[in-house]
Amino acid sequence: MAASLSCRGVKLSIALARVGTSICVNSGTRTLHVTAICCKNRAARIRVGKGDRPLTYEQALHPHHIGHRKGWLSQHTGNLQGEGGASDRTVEDMFVRRFIFGTFHNCLANEVVIKRRGNMLVVCALMLQKLPPQKLYFLIGYTETLLSHFYKCPVKMEVQTLADKAVYKYL
């Protein structure tokens, strides 16, 4: 709307300019230069801040680095030529990620990596050492059993623990 409203104004001022008259350009028109809006890309990017916010490697690198400096968080064959089911895999992934995020509340050190090998789902997670090993094993076993029965395929978790998050830089 703004573009169309000022169209006339633009044309008028251009016409005046072409004429080359020394008539004063500001003859009651206010021109507004607009172009199509091109917003800054904000996907999966954490902007530079005060310098006290710790970021992991995963968070610090932007999505256009995937394939160059980052790997993939979800590995399946749905995106190969001639293969189908990519959307189904994505939906399952999202469910699994939210499930794990909620089950291991505050314990995840980084994003969960999901690999599919044959009909098996392997969930690789990096945990913080907040829970005692027995509780952690209980949650792992519970997740595996529940997700296996839910997706009707064997689900395995491979867990590694860290004392605290691995900070790559501070932004």
Partner: protein, 605 residues
């Protein structure tokens, strides 16, 4: 190539396959290991029983390809009306009580139940001893007599059904239904006899068998197996037992029933209870087996070994029997058996008793043949097996071999108990590798054996005993300081160890030998506060080290301390100090007074 080759076999640094491969999540001590194993095996149970039957879980059936075992299991009864199909369903779901009730209802309603169904029911009741199979630890105690030994959850891998012993009651459902059956065939009798034998009613089993013979029925091989295993219980003397068994075998022959592997195993097991005539007969049995073409299993060999190598007998051992047995196992194709068998742990016990390391290696190699590793039993049996093996190794082998096995077995396969660690320390001592002690101490701490005061004492005395090279002394000193910190405060919830005089003495001498004089002085002061008396050799060592550093003040203090402890060697010490050091007048007079006080107290006592 070598690196690749090393990945083919077992990885000794990896934890058990049930655990996650992470240092924080791997159990460090034997107690943690067993607790975690028991816990892991119960997680699956709790998830499937508590969470999965909840209605909301199965709503989104969103997958295309389906693994049948992960589909929702119907544990609930579907068919409610009184019919034979309902009875069969209950039998299939293993619901003993419900099945019995259904059967009673059917009979009351007047419908005849087919013989197959009633036989199935009888089988079910006899198999489970007239109570529902236990899924968790809540047995129902109303119908059946149950003897419970105290249930312990942590650290025991026995299932609840092992701890609870069922006794065959009088007039229980099995017998009642048996009597109600219109015609009793072989199968019914067989089920009843086997149930009786399984749950301890041996005399009744034999009575039922006579009953069966009177009805002119032939028993089948399973019945005979059960009777043979029950035979030692019903007779007292060895000869009578054997006669009964021979009798049964003859009857088996007459009734043209062919024995199978289970028969021979039952025979050998019964022979273990038959005392002295067991040996000849067992070898006889083995040759019969060969003649009949039945391949023996590890269980048969286990029984044979048990007959020949009784744990407490002092009779002549047949020395190379175990070699022959191993040879036979390697060459004869074995039939694999799924019953828990203690072959490997008893074989290792025999090797330990006869101190035969070669045989032990052969037994260990047997584990790698085919499927034999499955026969090693659960984790508890495994720990017994590896414990005995490690014991034997420490006794018999050179230290390098012991250390190699140590790296392989511990801690991925076996968590040694304090006795095992002491064996290892002795082996180190024998072969003069005491420099490994600090590393072993680290392992002891990790395994949680650092609160066993005798183990710690032995470690300290080994360190303090001889003189070693300076680097070793340094490492010993570090280790000794570590031990000292253990005595001073407990870790977390654990109590600190109690100070003993020997421990303190040893720590002090180790510190002195490593030239850590300040810490040694601190230790000496600690003696006073903890009310323990240092030994005279310790004082001598102190004097020697003070002389080397030429410190008269410390020498004075030493004499005064020794006087305060009323050690008998104080005057001698004082003299030596006088001679060895340049002392001022004041110090000399102090010395004299110190030694006089000593001699005064001596003269008074």
């Amino acid at each position: 190539m070598q690196a690749l080759a090393s990945t083919v076999n077992r990885d000794p640094t990896a934890p058990h396959y049930m655990f996650q491969d992470d240092p924080y999540l791997t159990p460090r001590t034997s107690a943690e290991f067993f607790a975690l194993m028991f816990f892991l095996s119960s997680i699956f149970l709790s998830s499937t029983e508590i969470i999965l039957p909840l209605p909301g879980v199965w709503q989104n059936d969103c997958c295309v390809s389906v693994l049948q075992c992960l589909m929702p299991e119907t544990m609930e009864l579907c068919i409610e009306e009184v019919s034979e199909a309902a009875l069969l369903e209950r039998i299939m779901l293993r619901k003993v009580k419900a099945a019995v009730d259904m059967y009673d209802q059917l009979l009351q309603a007047g419908t005849t139940v087919s013989p197959d169904a009633s036989n199935d029911l009888l089988d079910l009741i006899c198999l489970y001893g007239d109570r529902d199979p236990v899924q968790d630890d809540k047995p129902e105690a109303e119908d059946v007599e149950v003897q419970e030994e105290g249930r312990r959850r942590k650290g025991r891998l026995r299932r609840a059904s092992d701890l609870v012993r069922i006794v065959w009651r009088e007039n229980n459902n099995a017998e009642r239904i048996f009597n109600l059956l219109p015609e009793r065939d072989t199968r019914a009798y067989s089920a009843l006899i086997r149930g009786m034998v399984k749950y301890g009613a041996h005399v009744k089993a034999f009575n039922t068998y006579t009953d069966m013979l009177n009805n002119r029925l032939t028993a089948d091989v399973h019945t005979f197996n059960a009777l043979i295993s029950a035979a030692p219980e019903v007779r007292e003397r060895y000869t009578e037992k054997w006669d009964l068994i021979v009798d049964l075998l003859n009857q088996m022959n007459e009734q043209k029933v062919k024995p199978n592997l289970l028969t021979f195993n039952a025979l050998l097991k019964a022979l273990r209870r038959c005392g002295s005539l067991a040996r000849a007969q067992s070898l006889h049995t083995l040759s019969e087996m060969k003649a009949m073409g039945i391949a023996p299993s590890l269980a048969s060999f286990d029984h044979v070994l048990g007959i020949f190598y009784k744990a407490d007998s002092r009779g002549p051992y047949i020395n190379n029997l175990i070699d022959q047995v191993i040879h036979a196992i390697l060459n004869v194709a074995l039939t694999l058996f799924s019953l828990p068998v203690n072959f490997f742990s008893s074989a290792m016990r025999i090797c330990l008793d006869t101190k035969d390391i070669e045989a032990a290696y052969k037994v260990h190699d047997l584990l790698r043949v085919g499927e034999n590793w499955r026969m090693l039993g659960d984790s508890f049996q495994q720990s017994i097996y590896y414990g005995r093996m490690f014991n034997l190794l420490c006794m018999m082998e050179h230290i390098d071999v012991v250390l190699k096995w140590y790296k392989e077995l511990i801690p991925s396969l076996y968590y040694p108990n304090p006795q095992g660690m002491r064996d290892l320390l002795q082996a180190l001592d024998t072969d003069n590798r005491l420099d490994m002690i600090p590393q072993i101490w680290k392992d002891i701490r990790r395994m949680g054996h650092d609160n066993k005061s005798d183990l710690v004492d032995e470690l300290l005395s080994l360190m303090a005993r001889d003189k070693h090279s300076p680097e070793i002394q340094e490492s010993f000193a570090v280790c000794a300081l570590d031990v000292k910190s253990l005595y001073e405060q407990g870790q977390g919830a654990r109590m600190a160890l109690e100070w003993t005089a020997t421990a303190m003495t040893n720590i002090t001498s180790v510190l002195l030998a490593a030239q850590k004089k300040q810490q040694a002085w601190d230790m000496l002061k600690l003696f006073k506060t903890k009310n323990r008396v240092p030994s005279e050799e310790l004082m001598e060592e102190f004097l020697a080290s003070i002389k080397s550093s030429n410190d008269p003040q410390h020498a004075m203090e030493l004499v005064q301390i020794s006087a305060s402890f009323c050690l008998p060697s104080t005057p001698k010490l004082a003299e030596r100090v006088l001679q060895a050091f340049e002392l001022s007048e004041e110090q000399k007079s102090q010395l004299k007074s110190a030694s006089e006080v000593k001699s005064n107290t001596e003269s008074r006592t």
